[in-house]
């Protein structure tokens, strides 16, 4: 990347860093600096993470006993619906692009800001507005449709503030679209001189691929939700089978968005992990061009696999055949990425900072999630395990084991960049390992009980599954502790943490060539880029410390 020996001292004259550039409430709520907006997003996504996490905690507490203790069937159904809606749309989809992406994209491109700073702020307000509608739906009594809003249940058989929740998701979708548009334009137009496409860090590539999916898939969700709302509120027959509508059509529309949405959630995580592994292995990434191609291949093929959610829905067995085939194909680029991360470690100079532990944990858990995806792509196995805990375990391995680990890895990796402070490495490593252990204890038993026939979304269950549910709930306790720990030691670091300096990890990333925290306008002079990313050692030579 650009010369790491850039005159960092000189930058201190460039004015106060972005955190000190204004102290009023308005300077935050009206901020158009991408870095401040990233902080706003960090606050809101953290809030939603703990809302969704509380619902998960209550679900796991209830499932300790086969007949439950605390809730009625209806309350239980509302809890898993709340957990799904909040975690998917208000945490997993936005979290990496809008926090780390928002903060780092201009820094990684050598730009002053995103292409449309005001649109960026507006998308945060859309996110908050969507969140407010959804939270209102919860406070008024909740919604028990499941996050999938299946028809005709949602239009005609569900009570509660369903329309309000639908509108919440509808609105937050536009926040996503605005962010994606902003990212695409920024990457196309605001790259520093010399920063060609094949010199972009893979995190930028992952944001680009993610933004493409967001902008193509999210409008389909918006249309679908509007149709559901029209049917529910104005009684316009769309999916109603008694008037010639087709409930399966809803599933096609919904999964046409929601399967690509899985890649919206995981691709940015892949980008983050690549930055971390290269840095702490002091190695160029193995197969840069292949990694770029794999990201794009996943983004494209990911649009054509939605039917694998519908193998037992009544769609034709020939559709099943084709969707099964394409689902196997989308796994190939994912597998290649795993091999490339592993190969990047080969002949490196590896150290094990907390963010590296998260990244290595990601590779392992993502591998397990990806492999069980092959089980689900196989029609006969899917017929048995779809809508069981096997599926629950599978997507939590991708979403939580993969995506959330990557987010925490990225948060720790760029924390000094964002705040200028170092946290306690020991506490951070402890949290990383607890998260890995707690995660496996929570979700591995779910694979087993799923294959044994434990259906998902069951409030009460046959007693033979209790042993697995108890293990899972114990794991959830460990996981909860691991998620709460960073709240404390990261907060403490803001007040008592060591000053990080511009580049504490000795990374070659362009974002580290400016001060930490960066000045308001990022770079004193526009950087010129003469090399590709990950220049931890000269090409063809050994990794050096």
């Amino acid at each position: 990347m650009s010369d790491a020996t850039l005159d960092i001292e000189g930058l201190h004259d460039a004015g106060p860093d972005y955190l000190r550039a204004g102290h009023s409430v308005l300077s935050w709520l009206g901020a158009i600096d991408h870095k401040r907006i990233a902080i706003l997003y960090a606050a809101s996504t953290t809030f939603f993470f703990f809302v969704g996490g509380m619902a998960a905690t209550m679900i796991r507490a209830e499932l300790v006993a086969p007949q439950g203790h605390f809730f009625t069937n209806d309350t239980y159904n509302k809890l898993f619906t709340l957990h799904g809606i909040v975690m998917v749309w208000f945490f997993l989809v936005p979290v990496i692009p809008t926090t780390l992406g928002n903060f780092l994209l201009p820094l990684m491109l050598g730009a002053r800001d995103l292409a449309f700073p005001r649109l960026n702020l507006f998308s945060w307000y859309l996110n908050i507005a969507g969140g407010a509608l959804t939270i209102a739906a919860i406070l008024f009594g909740g919604v028990a449709t499941g996050w999938t809003f299946y028809e005709p249940f949602t239009s005609f058989y569900a009570n509660g503030y369903v329309t309000l929740a639908l509108m919440g998701v509808f609105v937050v979708g536009f926040s996503t679209i605005a962010t994606a548009l902003n990212f695409i334009v920024t990457i196309h137009t605001l790259r520093a001189p010399g920063l060609t496409w094949m010199r972009l860090p893979l995190f930028v590539w992952s944001l680009y691929a993610t933004s493409l999916i967001m902008i193509l898939a999210t409008p389909v969700l918006a249309i679908t939700l509007l149709l559901v709302a029209a049917e529910r509120v104005f009684d316009v027959a769309v999916f109603d089978p008694t008037r010639g509508g087709d409930p399966i059509l809803f599933q096609h529309l919904f999964w046409f968005y929601s399967h690509p949405a899985v890649y919206i959630m995981i691709l940015p995580g892949m980008g983050v992990v690549t930055e971390i592994i290269t840095c702490f292995a002091r190695r160029r990434v193995f197969g840069y061009a292949t990694m770029v191609m794999a990201l794009l291949a996943i983004a494209v093929i990911g649009f054509f696999v939605w039917g694998h959610h519908m193998f037992v829905s009544g769609q034709s067995s020939y559709s099943n055949l084709i969707f099964s085939f394409l689902s196997f194909m989308v796994a190939v680029p994912s597998a290649i990425k795993v091999f490339n991360w592993t190969a990047t470690l080969y002949r490196g100079q590896i150290t094990f900072e907390a963010s590296m532990l998260y990244a290595l944990g990601f590779v392992g858990l993502f591998t397990m999630g990806g492999l069980t995806g092959l089980f689900l792509a196989s029609v006969p196995i899917d017929v048995h395990v779809t809508d069981t805990y096997f599926v629950v375990a599978h997507f939590h391995y991708i979403m939580v084991g993969g995506m959330v680990s990557a987010f925490f890895g990225g948060l720790h990796f760029w924390w000094p960049k964002i705040t200028g402070r170092l946290y306690s490495e020991n506490w951070a490593r402890t949290a990383a390992m607890l998260m890995f252990l707690g995660f496996n204890l929570t979700f591995f038993p779910q694979y087993i009980m799923g294959y044994l026939g434990m259906p998902r979304r069951y409030h009460t269950y046959p007693p033979e599954f209790q042993v697995y549910h108890v293990m899972s709930s114990l794991g959830a306790v460990v996981l909860a502790v691991a998620y709460l720990l960073p709240l404390f030691y990261l907060t403490a670091s803001l007040f008592r943490g060591r000053i990080a300096g511009a580049n504490p990890w000795d990374s070659t990333g362009l974002e580290w060539t400016t001060t930490s925290p960066p000045p308001e306008h990022n770079f004193h002079t526009t950087p010129r880029i003469t090399r590709g990313p990950y220049g931890y050692h000269p090409p063809g030579e050994a990794a050096r410390v």
Binding site: R282, S313, R347, P380, V383
Partner: protein
């Protein structure tokens, strides 16, 4: 119901095929996880910072070969698994002709089942062992899913659509029936049992179960009561398609397409007669939606199918 280890609960022909595929994939997955985590572990130790390990660079040509190699290997492996999965899927999905046909109606939150002889059951299904069973399923309200874990089988039951599930139980015993598609408040209580019996026990059970008229007779009564024959009869004044022998046959439609007259087609034609107009006929039939319960509809369809069965020429 009592035994829950997967190896002990293979309750249908499909189940063992699914299990073989599952365990093969499990073996492959364990191998891949061990390989990846093993490599990460070995590299982490061997190439920890400051270790004395050899770090000289490999020639770039080797890098490319390695990449092409594992890409092709992965592709080949995945294609093989896909091929296997497909062959399993298409071998056990075929519909037997000598099967026992059971009509299933799902509603919030119960399973209603009816045997060909008219015996009705709720949340339980008694079937003989080693005889193919074909479930013909409809829903009265939302989507449900008929799931028997021990058979490794599941099929959504969709309002407005007739779905089928075919299985051959191979073991005498009692197995769980669950609803697998979230269907509202008491979703987790929408459970029941499949009782697989010896043929002797099954006929004894049939004899002792209170049976109303069989399905075909019930259907004939409703067909008469609703005056269907007033049009669907060769001598009727209003011209409507002759229903004798229609089931299972291709039907040419007014829009030029041809449909197979299966259960879904018959059902749609009764509830939404204007959806698919038979070529050469006027769209004059009124909808019977709301006038027939799903259970009654099932009997009418059973009656229409019996018309096909008795007509030797068209079958």
């Amino acid at each position: 119901m009592n035994d829950f280890l997967p190896t002990e609960t293979v309750g249908s022909q499909a189940a063992s095929a699914t299990d073989h595929l599952f365990y093969a994939l499990l073996g492959i997955s364990v191998a891949v996880v061990l390989l990846v985590s093993g490599l990460i572990l070995v590299f982490s130790i061997r190439y920890r910072r400051g270790s004395k390990a050899d770090r000289s660079e490999l020639p770039p040509i080797l890098q490319r070969e390695v990449e092409i190699g594992w890409t092709l290997a992965t592709l080949f492996l995945f294609l093989s698994i896909f091929g296997w999965a497909v062959s399993e899927n298409f071998s056990f999905g075929t519909v037997p002709t000598n099967g026992l046909e059971i009509h299933v109606v799902a509603k919030q939150w119960m399973w209603k089942l009816q045997h060909p002889g008219g015996q009705r059951e709720i949340n339980a299904l008694h079937v003989p062992v080693n005889k193919p069973v074909r479930l013909i399923m409809n829903s009265e309200d939302v989507i449900h899913s008929f799931y028997v874990p021990s058979f490794r089988l599941k099929q959504d039951v969709v309002p407005g659509l007739t779905t089928q599930l075919v299985f051959t139980p191979i073991k005498v015993g009692t197995f769980r029936l669950l609803c697998a598609e979230y269907c509202g408040t008491d979703h987790s209580a929408m459970t029941g049992k499949i009782v697989v019996m010896t043929p002797e026990d099954y006929s004894r059970w049939l004899d002792t179960s209170p049976a109303s008229e069989d399905l075909v007779a019930q259907g004939r009564d409703i067909f008469t009561r609703l005056g269907c024959a007033g049009c669907h009869d060769a001598r009727a004044a209003v011209r409507a398609p002759d229903l004798k022998g229609v089931f299972g046959q291709p039907v040419p439609l007014a829009d030029g397409t041809v449909v197979q007259a299966d259960e879904t087609y018959l059902r749609d034609s009764i509830l939404q007669p204007r959806k698919q107009i038979v070529a050469g006929f006027d769209p004059v039939m009124p909808s019977f939606a709301g006038r027939l319960s799903d259970a009654e509809l099932e009997t009418v369809i059973a009656y229409l199918k019996s018309l096909a069965d008795t007509d030797g020429d068209t079958r």
